[in-house]
Subunit: 396 residues, 2 copies
C-alpha cells in the first residue's frame, strides 16, 4: 500500500485533536504521564482505527508530552490501521506474530518494552483495569516490562471524555438514528406468526448493514435481540430457530449503526389482540419515557431522571430493579454502552448537554415483559429523542 | 417462567458430563479445587448457557467436590440461563443490579463472596488470567473476597478440553460447514462491480442467520470480513460503504454458525481477468492446503503441518509470517478460535483425532493478498475438510 499524507479516518483531524485535548485534561487532573487504551472503542475514539483485531491484545498510547497517540497492534493489522486511522505510519507499531496465543510471552510485554524504550520507563501510567480486552495476564506482562513505572487504574477516563458528543459525532449519531428507524420498520414488517427467529434476525441484520442508498450501515456491537413468547422475560437472549408464536408479545432490541456509532431502539410488538396487562403496562412505560426524556437536561443529575420514572410508575405498582438508561455511542462488541453514566436511584452524575443516553424502560417480569427505548440527547432544557419511530405497542 | 425438570441446552446431559469429566481430569493434574470460567465459550461448553450477557462479568464455577457447575451471572440474565443451560435453577446465581458498572464494587467480588460462603474460602482456584472478559479489576475483586484462597492462572485449561470434539459436536460442526458452503455461495453470487461492501455484508449476514429450511443459523463470533482492492492487504478490515471495484480481487472470510459452533471459510474472488501473480500464488496456496490437510493427522505435531506448507511454498518464494491455522469451534465475539493449537514452526503440540482446525493460508502482501481456508478435522490417517466449496479462484 502506498503511503499517503492524507489520513483516512472518519472525522477531521481537528475532531481527534479535540478528543486528545479532552483526554489530556483528565490525565493532568489524575497526574498521569501516559494513558493506555486497550478497549477498541477508546482506540477508535482517539485514533480512528477500525478493524476486527481486538481478539488479540492491542493498545493506544497517549503520552502527555507527545502530540499524537501511538497504536500498538498485531503486525498483520497495521495495514488496516493505515487505512482507517488518522495516525501517520511511524505511529503504527506492529507486534510480531510470535506473540499471538503463546505461553510465556504476551503482546502487552511488547507494549511495555516499547514504552520503556521511548522514555516512559519511570512514568506514571494509567490504564482502565476493568476495560474489555485487558486481562490480568496483560497487566502482569506490562508490569514486567516496566519495573520502574507506576501503573495505576485510571478507571473510565477516556470513556468519560466520550460521554459528551461533539457536533460531528451528533451528526453521525443522527444518521445512526435514521438507520435505527428503518431497521425497526423492517423488523415490524417482517415479523409474522410462524416465522423462525433466525429468519427475523436475518432481515434485521441485513437492514443494519444495508442502511440507505446514501448511508451504508455497520455491524452492531450487540446482535439483534429478539425476545418472544416466554423469552420476553429474558432480556439478552439471542435469535433461536424456534418459531414466533401465532399470538403473543415480542420485544425487539436493535440498533442503527453508522461508523461504529450506535443508536439502539427497542419496541414491543404483539401478534393478535394484546392482553390488558401488556397494554396497561406499556401505557405507563410510554408515559415514563416522556417524563424521563423531559428531565434529561443539563444540570440535572442522573438520579433526577430516575425519580421522574418512579413518579410515573410507582402509582401503578410498576417497579424496575435495573437501571433505566446508560451512556451510548461509539462501540465494539460486546457493548454499545460506554460504562459511564447510569440512570438509577442515588446516581449523582451531573448531566451535560450533548451527552447521549439509551433510555430503556424494559420491564422484565417472571414470565413476560415489555420494553420501549430511545436514544436521548441531553438538551439545555429537555432531552431530545433521536429516533422518530412511534413508541406505541405495534399490534399486528 | 415455570420451572422445568427437563434441561433445555443444545446437547444431552451426558455430553456435558463428559466435558465436566474432561475438565476435572485436568483440574486434578493441576491440583485445583475449583476452576472459574469467565469466558462465555467455556461457560457455554460446561453448562450450555447462551445469552448476550458477557458485557458484564460472569463466571461458571466448577468445583472438584461438586457434581455440576454453578453459573454466576447478572440477575436479569438468570431467565436466559434457565432457557438455555442444563443447570437446575438452584445453580443459577444472579448478582444484583447495583453491581453493574459501579465504582468501588464488582460482580467478581460477589462471585468471590459466593465461593467463600460455600466452603471454598481456602481453596486452590484456577482462572485463565488471559481470558476474554476477565479484567485485572475482576481478579482484584475476586482476591479481595477470598483472602484465604490461592488464585492461580490455570491458562487455557478448559479451552484444551474443548480442542477434541465429541461425535455430538462434530455433527453440529458438520451442520455449520454445510451452512458455510451456502453462505459462501451466496457471497459469490452477490458480489459484482460497484456493489457497496456493506450491501455484500448484508447478504452474507442474512445468509448466516437464515441457514436452511431445516437448520437455522446463528451469529458469527467474527463479522464477515470483506477484503477488497487495497483492502486485500488488510486481513481484519470490516465492511465499509466503499464500492467493490470494477475489477480486482476480493478475499472473503466468513463462517457458517450452528449453535455457536463455527466453520470459517475463506475464498478469493476476482472480478475480470486475474493477473498472473494472483493465479500463480493461489495455485501454490491450494497445493499447500492439500499438503497440510494430509498432514493433519493424529500423532503428528502442529509443526509437521507447518513444515508441509513450507515444503510446498518455499520453492516458489512464498512465505507467510503468521501461523497457518488454529483450533476452532464454539465461540463468542471476539473470536471463533480457541486460543490453543496454533499451526506454526516449532509448535510441538501433538495433534489428536477429532480436533478441528481452521487451516488458513492467507498471504498478506504489502498491497495485495489472496487467501483460502477450510476447517479440517484431524483424522487418524489424514485430515478431512468439512466444507465442500471448491478452493479455486472464483473468476466472475
Amino acid at each position: 500500500m502506498e503511503k499517503t499524507n492524507e489520513h483516512r479516518a472518519v472525522f477531521a483531524l481537528s475532531e481527534y485533536e479535540h478528543r486528545i485535548a479532552g483526554t489530556r485534561s483528565r490525565m493532568a487532573e489524575a497526574g498521569l504521564d501516559v494513558v493506555l487504551c486497550p478497549d477498541p472503542s477508546n482506540i477508535n475514539y482517539l485514533t480512528g482505527y477500525d478493524g476486527w483485531s481486538f481478539y488479540t491484545p492491542q493498545v493506544a498510547v497517549l503520552a502527555a508530552d507527545d502530540d499524537l497517540p501511538v497504536l500498538i497492534t498485531r503486525l498483520m493489522d497495521v495495514n488496516t490501521a493505515r487505512m482507517s486511522s488518522m495516525l501517520p505510519d511511524d505511529r503504527l507499531i506492529g507486534f510480531p506474530e510470535s506473540l499471538v496465543h503463546v505461553d510465556g510471552d504476551h503482546p502487552m510485554r511488547f507494549a511495555g518494552a516499547w514504552l520503556a524504550e521511548h522514555g516512559y520507563g519511570s512514568a506514571r501510567i494509567g490504564v482502565d483495569f476493568d476495560a474489555h480486552y485487558f486481562s490480568p495476564a496483560g497487566l502482569r506482562a506490562l508490569q514486567s516490562a516496566l519495573p520502574g513505572a507506576v501503573i495505576v487504574d485510571c478507571g473510565r477516563l477516556v470513556n468519560w471524555v466520550r460521554a459528551v458528543k461533539s457536533e460531528a459525532e451528533l451528526a453521525v449519531m443522527r444518521e445512526a438514528a435514521d438507520l435505527a428507524d428503518r431497521v425497526m420498520q423492517t423488523a415490524v414488517e417482517t415479523i409474522e406468526p410462524g416465522l423462525r427467529q433466525t429468519d427475523l434476525a436475518a432481515a434485521i441484520s441485513a437492514a443494519q448493514y444495508r442502511g440507505t442508498d446514501d448511508t451504508g450501515g455497520d455491524y452492531p456491537a450487540i446482535v439483534p435481540l429478539i425476545m418472544t413468547g416466554e423469552g420476553t422475560s429474558a432480556p439478552h437472549i439471542t435469535a433461536r430457530e424456534t418459531r414466533i408464536g401465532d399470538s403473543g408479545a415480542t420485544v425487539l432490541e436493535l440498533a442503527g449503526v453508522r461508523h461504529r456509532y450506535h443508536c439502539p431502539i427497542s419496541r414491543t410488538i404483539h401478534l393478535g389482540p394484546p392482553p390488558r396487562r401488556i397494554t396497561d403496562t406499556l401505557k405507563v412505560v410510554i408515559d415514563g419515557m416522556l417524563a424521563v426524556t423531559s428531565e434529561l437536561k443539563a444540570g440535572n443529575r442522573a438520579e433526577d431522571a430516575h425519580a421522574a420514572w418512579r413518579r410515573t410508575a410507582e402509582p401503578h405498582g410498576i417497579t424496575k430493579a435495573s437501571r433505566i438508561g446508560y451512556s451510548v455511542g461509539l462501540g465494539y462488541p460486546p457493548d454499545w454502552g460506554e460504562s459511564t453514566i447510569s440512570l438509577r436511584r442515588d446516581e449523582a452524575t451531573m448531566l451535560e448537554e450533548n451527552q447521549t443516553v439509551h433510555l430503556m424502560l424494559g420491564i422484565w417480569n417472571e414470565d413476560w415483559g415489555v420494553s420501549v427505548s430511545n436514544v436521548i440527547r441531553v438538551g439545555a432544557s429537555a432531552g431530545e429523542a433521536l429516533v422518530t419511530f412511534p413508541m406505541d405497542l405495534v399490534v399486528k
